[in-house]
Assembly symmetry: C3
Homo-oligomer: 457 residues x 3
């Protein structure tokens, strides 16, 4: 590549984290965020969510939205706000059998207030455990039906003797708000890349602290990077009802979404797993497959299914956004999922760093991918007189000259850089550099994206 070409290319979006080593450094900072967030008693509404968003704000600027309880959001409505001060069970001798203070999982999320004495038989229907994993506390919720419950290790449950138990849940279920936060990184176009992560799980580490850490780090790096092509919107919201509410609040704006990723479960030791968007062949699907294939041969790409995280809503047929999901081991596919065993021992710094590299690489490539138009489409142009071709003929051209020929030949508006990378087997970055070089000598023009054209009135 000549100096002229190198200048035309320049440093790319998120270039600062284009290696695993750079990502490992960023994970140090992310780890301390996760440690701060772990003890907070989060749910889909309430002060735990607000504290979580405040901690994220320490790293990136967030715009906070509060949506009042009762607001209709499609087939749902924003629920009452839930907060809890204390929750415990005491035996007859005044010993605390279970106490929210010990672990946020002990209380079923959205439990109604209780202040009662009851027998073990009366209590038992409200106690949840996992007989196969007698030392783990399960994670249970009752968001949409008034109820209450405690979760505890099966061993503790079995140790409970007949007798009277004092049960106290000092919770409030009152009109309030549902809270979510957004960090927007402005690009040169209004078209958006949407990054979505859920923030409603209490003291669970892989799900969902690693997702929060990953999204925060990406946002922070994007803010520090060169101005990207797309505008990047990071949404930190409670799962399901949070994305439903966000979609309801942004029903018109979602047409701006070019594509995106749901992020989560990013730190366990399982392989990187990309789940395709509902359409299954969108640009983000192809880019993710291309990137994962280059990062880790054990990485998996799986088809869309309507169970999982917020892609359930973002990819519902009425929206059908080009949004995939990047995780390591998906929800429900590891034993510790939604139990107290999903703690810091389950997650690994190097795994989180690899997830960061993968997601940053997908965004970097997606930001750079484009269709170009060859402005001299009839026969090849004279590259030599523009300083882009070797002067002596008869010998074999170099890889960069091949890249120029590929770009010129395929740039009829119908092939993206990714298409050309796949066809030519040349590295994407080399092709991108060749495209920049050809743009710099007025032989090529970047095409407006199809989505934007659709958006124009």
């Amino acid at each position: 590549m000549t100096a002229r070409v190198a200048e035309a290319v320049g440093p790319g979006f998120l270039a600062a984290i284009d290696s695993l080593d750079a990502c490992k450094k960023r994970v140090q900072r992310a780890w301390s965020q996760m440690e701060d967030l772990f003890p907070i008693c989060r749910s889909i509404t309430g002060d735990g969510v607000r504290q979580t968003l405040a901690r994220i704000s320490a790293d990136v600027p967030l715009e906070i939205t509060e949506v009042p309880s009762g607001t209709p959001v499609f087939d749902w409505e924003v629920p009452r706000e839930w907060n809890v001060r204390e929750a415990w069970i005491e035996d007859e001798r005044g010993r605390r059998i279970v106490d929210l203070r010990d672990h946020t999982l002990h209380l079923m999320s959205y439990s109604v207030p209780v202040d009662a004495v009851m027998t073990l038989d009366e209590l038992k229907p409200h106690l949840h455990s996992i007989p196969e994993r007698p030392d783990w506390i399960p994670y249970r919720t009752s968001y949409y039906r008034d109820g209450w419950g405690f979760c505890l290790p099966h061993r503790a449950l079995e140790a409970m003797r007949p007798g009277n138990y004092k049960v106290r849940i000092d919770s409030r279920l009152e009109p309030g708000t549902l809270t979510y936060g957004e960090c927007v990184v402005a690009g040169t176009t209004a078209e958006e890349v949407l990054l979505f992560t859920h923030i409603c799980h209490p003291s669970l580490c892989n799900d969902n602290l690693t997702g929060i850490a990953l999204a925060t780090t990406l946002a922070a790096e994007a803010l520090r990077s060169i101005r990207p092509h797309f505008t990047y919107r990071f949404v930190f919201a409670p799962g399901t009802i949070g994305s439903i509410t966000w979609l309801a609040q942004n029903e018109k704006n979602v047409q701006r979404v070019h594509h995106g990723l749901v992020l989560g479960l990013a730190g366990d030791r399982g392989p990187l797993t990309y789940k395709r968007s509902r359409r299954g062949d969108t640009e983000i699907d192809r880019i993710a497959a291309y990137v994962l294939g280059s990062i880790d041969t054990s990485a998996r790409v799986v088809d869309f299914s309507p169970y999982g995280y917020d892609e359930r809503q973002l990819c519902s047929p009425g929206f059908d956004l080009a949004v995939g999901r990047l995780t390591r081991t998906p929800n429900n596919e590891y034993a510790e999922y939604h139990t107290s065993a999903d703690d810091f021992s389950l997650v690994d710094r190097d795994a989180l760093a690899q997830s960061l590299l993968a997601s940053a690489s997908i965004l970097r490539l997606a930001d750079r991918n484009a269709r170009y138009l060859n402005l001299n489409p009839k026969c090849e142009p004279r590259l030599g007189k523009r300083g882009l071709y070797r002067p002596t003929g008869g010998n074999h051209p170099g890889e960069f000259e091949h890249a120029l020929l590929w770009i010129l030949n395929q740039s009829d508006g119908g092939h993206s850089l990714l298409d050309i990378a796949e066809k030519s087997k040349l590295p994407f970055e080399l092709l991108a550099a060749a495209a920049d070089a050809l743009v710099s000598v007025d032989l090529l023009r970047r095409q407006q994206s199809e989505r934007l054209e659709e958006m124009s009135p």
Copy 2:
């Protein structure tokens, strides 16, 4: 599945024969029909056809059509009617060498009348045998060229000594009619599923008595079953000229045909074989492949070719109906084909029962398959408040809840239940039940089929 769901689902079309055991019971009755039909001297016209249809009428109501000889039917015309009283060859000592009374295959179908004495040399061009199978009588016809002939075991032919032979064929080739029968099972729409089987072969068992037995049994069961979605038309007609005549008589009506099956060769011990429609990717093709794959791993699905039975006409380019063919070993692919060895020893009750199960399963699934429209397409609806989702969150949903999510996510009008079954790997029946449940709570609406929309003025 809740009681509410179970009620919404109800017993399906042809539910009475959804197991191999049930099908084996039905085959008992079919067997006695085959035994009654075997001795009849059938051809493409004549009293043999009428007797055959009369025997079918004992089991299901038939509407009989008689089309006069000479009626133009596309490039053809309905031939003269052929009937025969006796046919034999006597040697000089008055011994009957060949006699139609012994086997209906002995006489070439459509032989003109003969009453003559001739030498062996004069006779030989009219004698047909199979040297490689010296004990079998071949099946030969001369429908469209005036001729005559006898078919006999090669061993018998070789035993004939030079001398004079008395030849008598007391046949009539006269203006008459071509006869076919139809049994119609009314559905809730006028769109039709066409079941076609040929009835022109004389004493041959697998081809074509098993086809007649299969179609009769299916029709009888369909008449006894709940009212299906489609209207089912069973056509019992002579091969080739019968389907040509039927198509000529119903040229306008065939646009009603949603899809269908040609049935035949259903009792031999070879594997189930589905031959795709000419288009190769129609709904019936995909359904048949899905069903056969689930019934028998040795079952085969083969591409369309323009040789075979009445799919040759139904799939001619001017009609190109979505009609496949279900057989066991296809025509011409087994040694006994079109010889006297195609008798009751060649066919097997269990094989015929499996053919019945396969064809009934295809019809059952085809009747149930549909595209639905999610009436709440933006985000998931609240299934819990409609009694369709478990109240406690955090744990894994059951298979039925997965089915609900799949149906909701994919029902944008572009995916049928079969599409969703293939994508989700969930059982078709479970998805159908989920669709019924969602229809019952007004979250889903069945789409009119595309064919019917095309038919509307």
Copy 3:
């Protein structure tokens, strides 16, 4: 096949070279052409090109076009004409170290005039060799930058001692013309099949004398053959600038090109290699794959790439012609490529004969391929009354009858003979004969090609 059918079929286009033996005989004549052409000092312009075209004219009539230097041709212009009388280097003792008279590769093509004495150090930047192949002379050009150079074996270069060298290049770079020749074989339509071969390489045998020999032989045979369906245009032109100039001169006419082949590198011992057109799924691509598969199991079909010979220009996005390329080992994939080792020892008569067979077979099949319309599309027509079907039924039809049924069933205007050959697995020639037979009894009509329909105003 009946006599009637055989008559309907007749001898096909290029039938005289439909066997390897016939092709081997034609190669004898081609070989002597190659021997005559080898010593000529060719370049992209000049008398070497004219002498080459004159030798080709000895075998086939050529229309010669001379395009003046300076004529704009898309992004390029026709260069000055280059001719050379002598070129050599003498050492101090008057010994000729390098002399154009010994080998045309010794002089870098388009070298400017030089008459100077210089030291070895001054001379060295102008000397080209291949250290890894010390006995071979490389082939170098400097068409578009004024320069000069000599090419020599590395061994000779290393033997040169410090001292003064006399350098003389008696060349002229003057306004003149670029020359190309065309041989047109008229068909029954104005639609053209384009055969393109480059003629600019000096004493190199596989590249490009075998291409010239192949194209000349094909043209000579086409002129002697029955009148083909398409019009065949053979273009003999210098590489790159020749095809650019030809396209510029024929910018409107190229819409006549139905498809075509670039021919070259046809005599080495590597396997036949077909390189797909840019679109990758054109008729010529499918025909070439079909033919090569039938000729040689080691033959390769490779995807288009924008590096190679004149397909670079013919398949530039502004033209995107349906033109593939037939070679044996492609450019740059064999060690002797563009060196003096590409001489008669590299090429093999049998390999060239096989290349001739392959290219002739592709043209023969391409000329014969067509879509037909069944004029009796509703049900099968009565073939028996037209003498095309056996009179006695019940037994299996022969291959020709199968071919008739396939043609009738598939000829809805959407399937070509090649499509039907691939589906039916029947030989293309048999299907072509069946189509001819059906045309002769007015059951079938050949469709106008789509390209021609597009061309109509």
